[in-house]
Symmetry: C2
Subunit: 403 residues, 2 copies
């Protein structure tokens, strides 16, 4: 597998673009993005489990019910959620894509992200759609910018991989820095690939993948109303279509995981106000499920997150979060270490503290990427979760988000 | 019921004190507290559900197993948790009480609060016990100060009430401002009463009470390792002992609830870094359980808490937290209003936003006590949860707690 440039345009037959159409007040911010495939593609999606679902989610579900789609349209600055006319507006966005591209509205995936509960007008979208479609090309970066809200960096990635001797490509863009604690689906992630794979196997790959990728990310414990991960696979790589489990399916899953894991780290590191990426690696669990539960609990603890902001090796908070996670763990077997590019420091063995150099610990925890390693000494289950530190800036960003 | 002064010394036959013995570095901070009853008292406790349990919890459980106790000793500055010699130290604290008061160590409730995973030495406690016992008297305030960690105000309260024609008194002290998201028990709360009530009925009253009091408080979503609520009832009021359900038991529960609810509000308002008390009142739920789940979810949302800090009427975050609470709710029936001494403002009806004056909302949300009223339109279940806003100060306090 080789990392390449191009984001969602890396795979054959995909074009993208992003423009400022006027939903966001700041004219330097793009707020409308479009991704199109030259041909109809297998489509798989996972969605938020929040009972409050953005109108675009309802519309997208209907449009991909047949397993296929050809375009993705997404605006930022307004979530189109909790609005009486939400579904009508989301359908309107798809119709505008049809009008300007000829792709049937029923083959368009639609997404929105931003403030909840403020009416979204079709007017700016109608006004911007012409230039959005006209500028379609190798513009994955513009599309990545078009879906950003409080994100500080655009998030895109692409890899090549091989299926049955054919070179395939897979790429993605993503957004999300706050209201992030996915449950079965998360944030907005759009993946494109030219691999040939049936809608069923594509959905199977995606549903399995999110359990170890986006569902293991937490910025603030809030599960959004608009989370969505969507993969389009247009088959233009010419490989023998993946239609069942086997070597090719495993290779595809590996490629998908490469892309999603990259974005998980990227999203956690750009968490609202974050100064540090936190990666919690749990090993020795009785089961994979227990490992996931423990890793997620630690990465979500406000107290642990604040301690990491302060480079304070307060490992008692790690043990505390393991203890209240609800997972079946023998606390007297738990080991904890902190690791970064500055070194590794062991702080807890068998559930009790061990002496360590505070100076050394400060050095390790002052890095911008920190691993907390938790050994449960109880089996072979392992899992990784991603999060970020809790900072003044998080509070500032969210104390007055709407203005 | 009448509010009176005296805290844990309001009830007949209870004395208390608090001193600085040297566990905390700051000599102006008391760090050791003692409450004693003239006679053995019925004792009931509830404890943290965290798998990591402080050593004092294990010792207390054993000491109150017979339903009785006569003293409570508690230090701050060190949680005596995750230490290999923790149980030995906690037993040592009880023995020191026995040595200086004559009360058997097996009738002493012991508690510790502070940093997890640092060895606790008996030395300062042994040194301070003499003056602690010597100063026993109407010193509920000293005891309240002795159990504080990052608390900014001491927390105590007392009421008179009547049981079978006899005047009884009930009072309490409490501490807790961080690592607060109780589950079946919480923080440190010590309640004293001179009512006569059997250990069984006392436990029944307490276990029922915490479901609607301390279990409905959240400061930061972290469930502590040392949470404990303990009630001592010494019977000196001379009422006919409460030994079964009935009018007197109901009256006792009402008095207990008065005390615990007061402390819930006090603890939430003094939440680490908090500038505002948030009170979430849910009505119209299909069941009480659903009402509790929804109220707790909203009060725990970091995004909602940050919005309240900024006096931002971002009600979408309220709806979002209702939606991911896991409770069985019809989102299309949900009403939301904000209320404070500055007025009431309706922001959402039937799951959709309604027009409101931002200026008016800012006024309502700038008060230091804010109610968020959620109507579910689905039944008669109701519940209240207490929390606080998320501020820069919370991050500051927890970024470097140990130094």
């Amino acid at each position: 597998m080789k990392k390449i440039t191009g984001g969602v345009c890396a795979a054959q037959g995909f074009k993208a673009n992003g423009v400022h159409c006027g939903i966001r007040k700041n004219k330097t911010k793009r707020d409308l993005a479009l991704i199109v495939s030259d041909v109809r593609a297998s489509a798989a999606c996972v969605y938020t489990q929040n009972l409050v679902k953005g109108a675009p989610i309802l519309v997208t579900k209907a449009h991909v019910a047949d397993g296929y789609a050809q375009a993705i349209v997404c605006n930022s600055g307004n979530a189109n959620t909790c609005n009486a006319d939400g579904v009508e507006i989301a359908e309107g966005m798809c119709s505008l894509v049809e009008k300007h591209t000829g792709i049937p509205a029923s083959d368009v995936v639609v997404a929105s992200t931003g403030v909840i509960g403020q009416p979204l007008s079709l007017e700016p979208i109608a006004g911007g759609m012409g230039s959005l479609v006209k500028g379609l090309g190798e513009n994955s970066d513009f599309a990545a910018q078009g879906i950003m809200t409080t994100d500080t960096v655009e998030k895109q990635v692409a890899y090549t991989f091989e299926l049955g001797g054919k070179e395939c490509r897979i790429g993605a863009i993503g957004k999300g820095v706050g209201m992030i604690n996915p449950n079965m689906a998360t944030m907005l992630i759009f993946v494109t690939t030219d691999a040939a794979i049936s809608p069923e196997m594509l959905q199977k790959a995606l549903s399995a993948d999110v359990k170890d990728s986006f569902n293991m990310v937490s910025v603030d414990g809030d599960t959004s109303t608009n989370d969505m991960v969507c993969v389009l696979a247009n088959g233009l790589a010419g490989n023998a279509p993946v239609e069942s489990a086997g070597k090719d399916f495993t290779a595809f899953r590996k490629a998908l995981s490469k892309v999603t894991t990259y974005l998980c780290r990227k999203i956690a590191k750009d968490g609202e106000g974050a100064t540090k990426l936190l990666e919690c690696k749990v090993t020795g669990a009785k089961s994979k499920k227990i490992a996931r539960t423990v890793a997620k609990s630690v990465i979500s603890s406000s107290l642990f997150k604040a301690a990491m902001f302060g480079a304070d090796a307060n490992w008692g908070r790690v043990l505390c979060a393991v203890g209240y996670s609800g997972a079946d763990v023998d606390i007297n077997k738990v080991d904890v270490s902190f690791k970064s590019k500055a070194g590794t420091i062991d702080v807890c063995r068998g559930g009790s503290g061990i002496p360590f150099s505070e100076e050394e610990a400060k050095k390790v925890l002052s890095a911008d990427e920190i691993e907390v390693l938790i050994g449960l000494g109880d089996g072979n289950g392992r899992a990784t979760a991603w999060g970020c530190d809790l900072t003044y800036e998080y509070v500032k960003i969210n104390g007055d988000y709407r203005t």
